[in-house]
């Protein structure tokens, strides 16, 4: 059946290019509108600079994001529905799903969750690389105790850019690639509940990252990733990039959370009760609730700051009746659950992989799931520990100290589950397993240092020091990024049919593990010695430790680049073919063919057992007869 493609389809083929054109047109239109027509409405405008005014930049960014999405074709369906257009046919849906295959579907809007997972992986790695370059600049500057290659202003902007970009990407580093790719397969669904919404959550990510990076053309921002007021009100136009970037990321997190919850709870195969759901899916479910419920607080805070910068509202300025604590409260009500948005899916991912290497079922599976749920619930009750030093009412400190320390209980349970799984196991030390071990080692140090920050007296001396910075990097980089690397090595054969050089990766693992710990143990030490973070200058006696951190960090950067290099060389250039199930996993995702069929299953799973029956060798699912293909196939 060869019919001439419709105009919508032909435009969709050029989605990315049209999106970029739409972004440029949108920015120009928004900038002109914001700088002109609405600048007197409600007293908007502020003080224009040679680069423009806040309303112009904000509206320019907003309309460029909208123009990008319009060019990609995201508004075709809702606008068509507004005029009563027919629902898409099965053939239309199959086309949008990327059934025709080909590389082009990775550069346009598609509703195939597997393609979206790959899109996430590539974009996240690219932005992490850029953020990593920022870290290299920071550590190079800190080789000397006085400014050498940057001034204080540009250094602060660089710190803010590095940290915010990393936070953006870390928000979705596990769920983006692996959650989108594998959750529908793991629950026996053929697609997400809202496939277009899933595509939207991904395509909000590149504009958010690029808008944030564009801050370098607008003078940067000096608030760091936390964007504290009233400094945020006083910042130059570069602050607008931070706000619009965070608004888009907040929206993406919330929408992704809603879609994942709906998919897991309503699109699951009916034969699969919650009790048999893979532990990774559980972690995605918990994280999705965190995102859907916490991100709106961030959106509210960002809206207030945008109002402040465009309409001179005074939400956060005491002289105008506002308070910086309002920002701190709203930001951290989102910000602390955000930490678990990073970490809980990492826990889920390593607990999913662990039994395949231990060749044993996950020990205390339900308890481990309970641990993740416990971490998720408690994460909403701890945000004020970030305000211990900045002015929380003293009577509130004990509660938040206690609630924060309570989080170590469910986290400890997750550790016990991992240890119990490894107990008397015939563990296979495959390369992903090395990263899994490193995950638990690093996160242990991250958690241990966190106890000192949750404790009011010690927090008073450690707050805003390099100790905090090292703690955070131990949890997020040592935890989430190591889990990400484990996940890439483990799941790459399924996602691409290709594999990496496992022997070379072992060398890379030891390089990244040792340099990571060398870097951040040095920074724990300088933090204890009182060096404040975000300062370009430091006392001369701290130079040896700083130099140690910088040299290790530069080596860490090289070893992380080696990972990317191996990935690109082996998968893209050399195309090393992977075995069908190299880890001999029993998970359902390994029982479907590679490449995974367009709608996931040629034969539907009809009965499900636990996905980690390594003691009996029973696979996670039994499959029924072949299912009919789409009519458009």
């Amino acid at each position: 059946m060869s019919t001439r493609p419709t105009l919508a389809r032909r435009l969709n083929e050029w989605g990315l290019l049209l999106g970029l054109v739409g972004a440029v047109i949108g920015f120009i239109a928004g900038y002109a509108l914001g700088s002109g027509a609405i600048s007197n409405f409600y007293g908007a405008g502020g003080e224009p600079t040679s680069l423009g005014s806040d309303p112009g930049i904000i509206l320019g960014y907003a309309m460029s994001a909208a123009g990008f999405l319009a060019g990609m074709g995201f508004f075709n369906y809702p606008i068509g529905r507004l005029f009563g257009a027919k629902r898409p046919t099965e053939e239309d849906n199959a086309y949008l799903h990327g059934e025709s295959g080909g590389l082009g579907r990775y550069f346009r809007m598609t509703t195939d969750h597997k393609v979206i997972g790959m899109q996430y992986l590539v974009v996240i790695l690219a932005f992490l690389f850029i953020g990593g370059l920022g870290a290299m600049f920071i550590r190079t500057e800190l080789l000397t105790p006085v400014p050498s290659i940057a001034n204080a202003q540009s250094y602060l902007s660089l710190v803010g850019l590095h940290s915010t970009l990393m936070i953006f990407m870390a928000s979705t580093a596990i769920i983006g690639p692996f959650g989108n790719y594998f959750v529908p397969i793991m629950i026996g669904a053929r697609n997400m509940a809202f496939p277009r919404l899933e595509a939207l959550t991904f395509w909000l990510l590149p504009p958010a990252g690029l808008i944030l990076l564009s801050t370098v053309f607008l003078g940067g921002f000096t608030t760091g990733w936390t964007g504290y007021a009233p400094l945020a009100d006083q910042n130059v136009l570069g602050m607008d990039s931070y706000l619009m970037g965070f608004a888009l990321i907040g929206l993406s997190i919330a929408l992704s959370g809603l879609n994942m919850i709906a998919t897991i709870l309503t699109k699951r195969a009916p034969e699969m009760p919650l009790s048999r759901m893979p532990v990774f899916v559980w972690s995605v479910l918990v994280t999705s609730f965190l995102g859907a419920l916490a991100a709106p607080a961030l959106i509210a805070a960002v809206l207030m700051e945008i109002f402040s910068r465009t309409y001179q509202a005074t939400f956060f300025i005491p002289a105008g009746g506002g308070s910086p604590y309002l920002w701190e409260n709203l930001f951290w009500f989102f910000g602390h659950p955000e930490v678990y948005i990073f970490v809980v899916p990492a826990f889920g991912l390593v607990m999913e992989m662990l039994p395949a290497f231990a060749r044993k079922p996950l020990w205390g599976r339900r308890v481990g799931i309970g641990g993740m749920v416990g971490v998720g619930v408690l994460s909403f009750l701890v945000w004020q520990h970030h305000l211990f030093v900045s002015g929380i009412a003293p009577s509130l400190r004990p509660f938040y100290m206690f609630s924060t320390e309570m989080i170590s209980v469910p986290t400890g349970i997750i550790y016990l589950v991992a240890l119990g799984t490894l107990w008397r196991a015939r563990t296979r030390f495959g390369t992903p397993m090395l990263f899994i071990f490193a995950f638990f080692f690093n996160f242990l140090i991250g958690g241990f240092t966190g106890v000192f920050l949750s404790d009011v007296p010690s927090d008073f001396s450690l707050h805003a020091s390099y100790f905090v910075q090292a703690h955070f990097h131990y949890t997020i980089m040592g935890g989430e990024v190591f889990a990400l690397m484990a996940g890439i090595v483990y799941y790459l054969p399924k996602m691409t049919g290709r594999t990496m050089d496992i022997k070379l990766l072992r060398y890379q693992f030891w390089a990244v593990f040792l340099t990571f710990n060398g870097t951040f143990i040095s920074l724990i030490a300088v933090g204890i010695m009182g060096m404040p973070r975000r300062d370009i200058s430091y006392a001369a006696y701290l130079q040896p430790l700083n130099d140690s951190a910088s040299i290790f960090a530069l080596a860490l950067g090289l070893s992380m680049s080696l990972f990317l290099g191996i990935l690109i060389w082996e998968v893209v250039i050399k195309q090393r073919v992977a075995a069908a199930n190299p880890w001999e996993s029993l998970g359902v995702e390994w029982q479907v063919p590679t490449p995974v069929p367009t709608f996931n299953f040629d034969r539907m799973p009809v009965s499900w057992s636990l996905p980690d029956n390594y003691d009996t060798g029973q696979p996670a699912a039994d499959f029924g007869p072949a299912v009919p293909a789409l009519s458009g196939a």
Binding site: A193, L258, I261, T266, P296, F307, G321, S631
Partner: protein, 200 residues
């Protein structure tokens, strides 16, 4: 809403008679929206309670015009009644023309709601840089609610047009979901009105 259901897949939604995903997700959206509304409520109460620099509600800064604010409340309530009638008509499988009439009525109420609320915001007699944080919170909150009313109105228009043009039959799940969304936003707008007018 299941775009791949014709492939032969059986999912929980199908087992529960369809529409389950839509209703469930719509309620999730309400839960998520509640966090947004509670964040604004927190800002209102926090700034009001502390009255930093006596700049919560400085003298000379009024409240939104009462009559217009009441009209802006009455219209969404009419919308709730109309959508309730739509939902009942759809679930009792009443004839299509009756449903169409009710849908248009509901849509008219939503359009008027949006128009009156824009007019109301235009009548706020303050500039934000000097009116204190009461005006800031009131303006932002009304703007957020306006955006939400417009969003639900757009959804309703898509249902109306699909029904009128015969391209899509209005299902009971859709009717119920949009009724719940509109009722929720109307309820929040009543609470916001009471706060802004009487707890200033």
């Amino acid at each position: 809403m299941s775009e791949v259901s014709p492939t032969g897949l059986t999912v929980i939604d199908d087992v529960k008679g369809g529409g389950h995903t839509l209703i469930f997700t719509s309620r999730l959206v309400i839960a998520s929206n509640t966090t947004l509304q509670l964040s604004l409520l927190f800002a209102f109460l926090y700034l009001r309670a502390n009255n930093f620099g006596s700049m919560w509600h400085p003298s000379g800064v009024g409240t939104p015009p009462q009559v217009l604010a009441l009209i802006a409340l009455a219209l969404p309530i009419v919308g709730v009644v109309a959508l309730l009638a739509v939902s009942n008509a759809v679930s009792s499988a009443r004839e299509s023309s009756a449903v169409t009439g009710l849908l248009w009525l509901a849509f008219l109420a939503t359009v008027l709601t949006g128009a009156v609320r824009i007019l109301l915001m235009y009548q706020f007699n303050w500039t934000l840089n000097s009116a204190g944080t009461y005006a800031d919170v009131a303006t932002l909150w009304y703007a957020v609610l306006l955006a939400e009313f417009i969003g639900v109105a757009a959804w309703l228009l898509s249902l109306v047009m699909g029904h009128v043009r015969g391209t899509d039959r209005l299902g009971s799940a859709h009717a119920r979901a949009i009724l719940e969304q509109w009722t929720y936003i109307t309820g929040v707008s009543i609470a916001v009105y009471l706060l802004i007018q009487y707890a200033s």
